[in-house]
Amino acid sequence: MKRHFHELSVAGTLVLLLLVLAVLAPGFFEPQPLLSRLATAAPRLVVACGVALVILTRQIDISIGSLFGVCSVAAGLVATGPTGIPGALATSMLVGAVGGAVNGTLVAGLGLPSIVVTLATMVTLREGLRLWRQGVFINLPDAMQWFGLPMMRGQAVVCLIAVGVLVALALMTRHLAAGRYLYAVGSDAEAARLAGLRPRLTTFLVFVGMGALVGAAAVMNLVQSPQVDPSTGRGLELEAIAAAVVGGVAVSGGRGSLWGVFAGFLLLSCINPALTYLGVKPYWDKASQGAIILLAVVADGWRRRRGGT
C-alpha cells in the first residue's frame, strides 16, 4: 500500500473522473464508441509501455514521435507492395529497431546523454521525413484495414495486442530476471556493472526494444484507417512520457511499475473525450489536462511531505 501510493493516487483520480462521467455523461461507457476509442488509444499504450522501460533504465527517448511517423510511412509504402501486412509489420518494426539502435549506440556506446541524443534524432527524423514526403498522404490497400478482419474483431485484436504487450512487459519487469536488470541498471549503473550485469548492453537493448515497439504501434495505428498521414505521431513522445511519469515511473530511474503507467495512461487519455462528453468548451482542454496531471501527483507529494523524508 505504502509502496504503491503513487499509482493508487493516480488510479484514484481516474476513478473520480469516471464517476463524474458515470453521473453526468453515462453515454461515455457505451460499448461501441468505447471500443473504438480504446482501439485508437491502444498503439499509444504500447509506446507508453516502451518509454516506461526506457525511463526505468534512467534514460529517456523523445524521438519516438518522429520515429512513429517514419515507421508509419515506411510500413505504408511497403503495404502497397506484394508482401502485405506481414511485410508492413516487419518493415515497421525493423525501421523502428534500427532507429532505436542508432539512439542506443549513441547513448550506450558513446555515453552521450539520452535526452540530447534523442532530441537530435527527433528533429532530424521529423524534418527529414517532411523533406522526403512533403506531407503527402499514402493510400493503403483495403486489405490492410483491421488486418483484413471485420471492424469490431479488428478493434478487439488491436486492443488485445496492446493489453498483451502491457501484461507481458509488466510480468517481464517483475518476474523475469531481465526485467529486474532494467531496474538495477536504472538504479545504479556502476553497482550493476560491479554485480556482473552489463549496463551498456542493457541500455542498448532497451532502446532497440523501444524502437521495435514503436514500429509495432505504428502498424497497430495504421490498420485503423486507409490512409497514412506522414505527420502522424507528432507530440506522441510527450503523451507517452507524461503517462509514464504521471504513472509513477521516476525520471531518476529504477522505480515505477507498468501498472502505474497503465493508470497514468488511462487517466491522460480519458481527459479529452471526457471533456467532450461533459460538453466543456475546448479552450479549457489544456488547462484541465494540466490541472488533472498536477492533481494526480500532488496527493503523492502531500503524503511524502507529511511522511518526513
Partner: protein, 322 residues
C-alpha cells in the same frame, strides 16, 4: 522534384528590379509539409519555370505566425524581389510585410490576406466570407432547417479558421437558426487525432447530423470515423480538403462534399502576379491580369479573383487529381 533551380552563386548586394538578372520570388505557405500548400507549390513551380524566375518556397514547419515574420524579415535582408505570402496571422505578419514594401520589395498575399496596406494585391481564391457561407449553405442543404452539427478545426488559435467560423456562425444565425453548432474540437492538424475526435463526438452527440471539418487532414479523419461508427449517410461530412485525400470517401458516399479551389492554379497565379508586380506588368489599379497559360483574371479593387470555391462531389471528383 527540386523546388528551385537557382544558380546565382554570387552573393552580390542585388536589390529589386535589377535588369538582366533573374528575379527572385519568395512564396510562403502557412506551414510546410501540408498537402494543400504542397499542391500550391506545384503550380508555383510551373509558373516559375515558365517565367524564368527563381522561386524560394519556405515557411514554418508548423503553423507559427512569429516564425513567418522571421522568415519574411530574412527574405528582406536576403534581397528577394517579390514576396507572396499566405498569412497565418493577419495583424502579426503585416508589420513584416510593410517593412518589405518599404525596402522596395513587391508584396502580394494569397490564400489568406494581410492588412490591405501591407500588400499590393491579394490573390483571392475565396474570401473567408465566401468559404464560411459556402460551408454553411452546404450544411443547410444536407441537413435541412434543423439539426446538430460539430466543427473540427486544426487548432483553437489558427487565425483563418477562426475567421471562417465567424462567418459560418453569421450565416447560421441568418439562414439556419435551428441548426445547432454543438461542439468545436481541435485536431492539431493531424488526421489520426481528427479521427479520434470525430469518434468521440459521434458518441457524445448521438443526434449529430453533420461534421464540418475545416482543416484538410480533418476531412478524411472525420469521414473514417463516421464510416467506422456505421453512420455513413446518417451523419454527413463536409469540409475543406484536397480531392485526392477524400476521393474514396466521397465515392463511398461517406463524405458528401469537399470544398476547395484549384490549389495549383492558386500557386501559379500567386507567383505569376508577384512577377508581374515586380517587373511592372501588373500595376496597382489594373482591372485584369493575363496570367500566362491560365488566361485572364479579373481584378476587383485589389483582389485578384481566382474564381469561386469549387464543390467536389461524387460526380466530379474523379476529374481532379491534386
Amino acid at each position: 522534384g527540386p523546388s528551385n533551380n537557382s544558380a546565382s552563386g554570387d552573393g552580390a548586394t542585388q536589390t529589386a528590379g535589377g535588369s538582366g538578372k533573374k528575379l527572385m520570388i519568395a512564396l510562403m505557405p502557412k506551414s510546410k509539409g501540408n498537402a494543400y500548400f504542397v499542391s500550391c507549390k506545384q503550380g508555383a513551380e510551373r509558373a516559375a519555370k515558365e517565367l524564368g524566375v527563381d522561386l524560394v518556397f519556405d515557411g514554418p514547419t508548423n503553423p507559427d505566425p512569429a516564425k513567418q515574420n522571421e522568415i519574411i524579415e530574412n527574405w528582406i535582408t536576403l534581397g528577394v524581389d517579390a514576396i507572396a505570402a499566405a498569412c497565418e496571422n493577419r495583424d502579426g505578419i503585416s508589420t513584416a510585410l510593410r517593412k518589405a514594401q518599404a525596402k522596395g520589395i513587391k508584396v502580394i498575399t494569397y490564400d489568406s490576406d494581410a492588412q490591405p496596406d501591407a500588400r499590393s494585391f491579394f490573390v483571392n481564391q475565396a474570401t473567408p466570407e465566401g468559404i464560411g457561407y459556402t460551408l454553411m449553405d452546404e450544411a443547410g442543404r444536407l441537413v435541412g432547417p434543423s439539426g446538430e452539427f460539430a466543427i473540427i478545426t486544426a487548432s483553437l488559435t489558427a487565425a483563418n479558421m477562426n475567421e471562417w467560423q465567424k462567418h459560418i456562425e453569421a450565416r447560421r444565425k441568418e439562414k439556419f437558426p435551428n441548426l445547432k453548432m454543438v461542439a468545436l474540437r481541435p485536431c492539431d492538424d493531424l488526421k489520426d487525432k481528427a479521427q479520434a475526435e470525430a469518434t468521440t463526438l459521434l458518441g457524445a452527440y448521438p443526434n449529430l447530423n453533420l461534421i464540418m471539418a475545416i482543416c484538410s487532414p480533418a476531412v478524411p479523419g472525420s469521414a473514417e470515423a463516421v464510416k467506422q461508427a456505421g453512420k455513413a449517410g446518417k451523419v454527413k461530412v463536409i469540409g475543406l480538403g484536397l480531392p485526392s485525400e477524400n476521393r474514396r470517401y466521397v465515392k463511398d458516399g461517406v463524405t458528401d462534399s469537399v470544398i476547395l479551389w484549384k490549389t495549383e492554379d492558386l500557386g501559379y497565379l500567386a507567383v505569376h502576379a508577384a512577377k508581374g508586380l515586380a517587373d511592372g506588368t501588373l500595376k496597382p489599379g489594373a482591372k485584369s491580369y493575363q496570367a500566362g497559360a491560365l488566361g485572364q483574371f479579373e481584378i476587383v479593387g485589389d483582389h485578384l479573383l481566382l474564381g469561386k470555391p469549387f464543390i467536389f462531389n461524387k460526380d466530379n471528383i474523379d476529374q481532379f487529381n491534386f
